[in-house]
């Protein structure tokens, strides 16, 4: 009886030990030998995430011994980790801002700023929403300003001709560069908005929420709209500026590229730690953003930058040029591709 128990315990212990040893490190390294895996840590914007995810996946296929982890803490959250030295690369949907520049300076972390794509921040509603097909920037501001909290809760309060029904708002979380940019562009002050909406750093949650709710309105990176065609309806934005496109303009790869979708078009960045660039695998990884990465940008639904800008970025990378081109820091509203090029020079 005791032997029976002993055998059972031994068997289970053996199983667990085997699982513990064998469960790790299932890698198909070339030549079949086990190699010590290198790790690249990326974190930050959920807007940039689809690009980095795609680049990481393709990179891993070609370089099996390198593991890439990609987090979605939001642009702000990503910078916090980056300036603590916890990550090698930070995804950002806005340039680094002064407080983050300071944090990195204190931690003696030099960074290389690289624009990698161009995005249009889309305003979306449920497909069954037939009334809100275009909005002006003023109307958006009225809806999202801090004063609107608890007060502007019905569609008819935004525009009188709209139905007298509840609005359910969805938007990026406060750690998100998308949030920073949206508030800067629409409300006028970065970080200023009402607080009573479903906020999440994960755009997938927003898509799910809006796609399931007739009365919903939200904002997110264009790629998420492209990837969920049919579930969301775009709201055309009118910035009352005849110089860049008359009337309301809907976000699309075209309108973002030719600069008519304003003020909600913006460049997307990655920030690479200078010391990380000394590692061969990091160098190869960042390089791939500019080789295979360009096609991936289109594939996920964003706008590739012009070749000039990419060349310039690669040059900065090769020169290990540290620092930011955006001295004032933080979101830059209304930055067209040409202006970006000029800045980078």
């Amino acid at each position: 009886m005791f032997q029976f128990a002993c055998r059972y315990t031994a068997a289970i212990a053996l199983m667990l030990t085997a699982a513990a040893c064998g469960g790790g490190a299932h890698r198909e390294a070339p030549g079949g030998e086990r190699q010590h895996s290198a790790m690249i840590r990326v974190d930050g914007s959920s807007t940039v995430y689809p690009i980095t995810e795609a680049v990481a996946e393709e990179f891993h296929k070609a370089n099996r011994e390198v593991n890439v982890t990609v987090g979605v803490s939001g642009t702000g959250g990503g910078f916090q980790k980056f300036c603590r030295g916890e990550t090698d690369i930070s995804d950002a949907s806005r340039p680094i801002k002064p407080s983050e520049i300071e944090a990195c300076r204190t931690a003696a972390i030099d960074y290389i700023e690289l624009p990698i794509a161009y995005d249009g921040l889309a305003v979306v509603v449920h497909p069954k929403n037939t009334w809100a097909r275009s909005m002006t920037v003023e109307e958006l501001k009225k809806l999202w300003a801090p004063e609107a909290q608890g007060k502007i809760t019905r569609w008819s309060q935004v525009r009188a001709s709209w139905p007298d029904r509840d609005i359910h708002l969805f938007g990026a979380g406060v750690d998100s560069g998308t949030y920073d940019y949206f508030t800067d562009a629409i409300v006028g002050t970065e970080g200023a908005s009402r607080g009573d909406f479903t906020s999440s750093e994960d755009d997938n949650v927003l898509v799910q929420g809006i796609a399931g709710d007739e009365l919903a309105l939200g904002f997110m990176g264009l790629a998420y709209v492209e990837q969920n065609a049919g579930k969301l309806a775009l709201v055309a934005v009118d910035d009352r500026n005849p110089q860049n496109g008359d009337g309301p303009v809907a976000a699309s790869v075209e309108t973002v590229r030719n600069g008519t979708y304003q003020p909600l078009s913006r460049p997307l960045f990655i920030y690479v730690a200078r010391t990380a660039m000394d590692r061969r695998e990091v160098q190869a990884f960042v390089d791939s953003y500019f080789t295979t990465g360009k096609a991936l940008v289109s594939e996920v639904g964003y706008v590739p930058l012009t070749d000039d800008i990419y060349e310039l970025a690669q040059k900065h990378l090769a020169d290990r040029k540290v620092g930011t081109a955006f001295g004032a820091g933080g979101s830059q509203v209304g930055l067209t591709l040409e202006a970006l090029l000029a800045r980078e020079r």
Partner: protein
């Protein structure tokens, strides 16, 4: 007691072996003490961060404020909206689990034949053993769309779907605990009732259930505690918008879903945002702790009544 009645010769032999005994007993005792250490650990971790939290936020604002926007530029720390979210979903869950669980228990205990009981009980165990993330999937992708066909204004994220699914998940708990309580009622009581000419229904409802009252109440209280602490179903399907409302058709946020939301982002230690999850956690722990104690006390009392 048992170890004491031994002949002297055997005792001498034992003393030889006794060298290891106290050490072993001590080692076992330390392991048992570890469980106490766990509770102390929970209290210390929660209390220290919550104390730091209340260094910056007033207790009255926390407990009575009606806006929960701790992550925003102008943060507000009134916890009532997430408490309301938890309360709303839990109430819906209890409205499903308590009556259905009790009725199932009555059927299994008073009416069901032994073979039926033998097959049904394990199946109910299965219901209880399914991971909550699976229930979350079910709530978001099956129950809510189903409900949306009946209630068109139902949002994708709402309190109704997850509430109902949570009720289904908790039903086996109520059923098995209530059934245990009812099985514990002496057969004599039932037979007396039948002898007086009562029907099975009358006996069940007027004799057995009242007799098992403490046990059944203990089951109910434990079910509420389970509902309050449930995380994944609401994190997936109830939404992420703290809102002080009784409306089950709109997105809300529960205390547990809030902790998950913050944990999924960046939580640098020492910041006020990091501490909010501990403050909310303390509230949750306190609530479930009180309920668990009440339930245990009632079960003890019940055991004494019919020991």
């Amino acid at each position: 007691m048992i170890g004491e009645a031994q002949p002297a010769a055997a005792r001498r032999r034992r003393i030889g072996a006794m060298g290891a005994e106290p050490a072993i007993e001590w080692a076992l005792f330390l392991c048992a003490l570890l469980s106490v250490a766990t509770t102390i650990g929970i209290i210390v971790v929660l209390a220290s961060e919550t104390w730091a939290f209340f260094g910056r936020v007033a207790l009255t604002e926390f407990l009575t404020g009606t806006e929960w926007t701790p992550l925003f530029a102008a943060p507000q720390f009134g916890v009532l909206p997430v408490v309301a979210g938890t309360a709303l979903v839990s109430s819906i869950a209890m409205a499903v689990a308590l009556p259905a669980g009790l009725l199932s228990a009555i059927y299994l205990s008073e009416y069901a034949s032994a073979p039926l009981r033998r097959t049904v009980k394990p199946v109910l165990e299965v219901l209880a053993g399914i991971p909550t993330v699976v229930y979350g999937y079910f709530a978001l992708l099956f129950v809510t769309p189903l409900l949306q066909r009946v209630i068109p204004e139902l949002s994708g994220f709402n309190a109704l779907g997850p509430g109902i699914v949570m009720g289904i998940m908790i039903l086996p708990l109520v059923s098995s605990l209530a059934e245990d309580a009812m099985r514990g009622v002496p057969v004599g009581l039932r037979e007396g009732s039948y002898a007086l000419g009562a029907t099975k229904m009358q006996t069940s409802l007027r004799v057995v259930v009242p007799a098992a009252f403490s046990g059944i109440t203990a089951a109910f209280i434990l079910a509420v505690s389970r509902a309050l602490g449930e995380t994944m179903i609401v994190a997936i399907a109830a939404g992420q918008q703290p809102r002080l409302t009784l409306d089950p058709t709109v997105p809300i946020e529960t205390m547990t879903a809030y902790i998950v939301q913050v944990s999924l982002g960046d939580t640098p230690q020492g910041t006020l945002e990091y501490r909010t999850i501990f403050a909310v956690g303390t509230l949750l722990f306190a609530g479930t702790f009180i309920l668990n104690l009440a339930s245990a006390w009632l079960r003890e009392r019940y055991r004494e009544e019919y020991a």
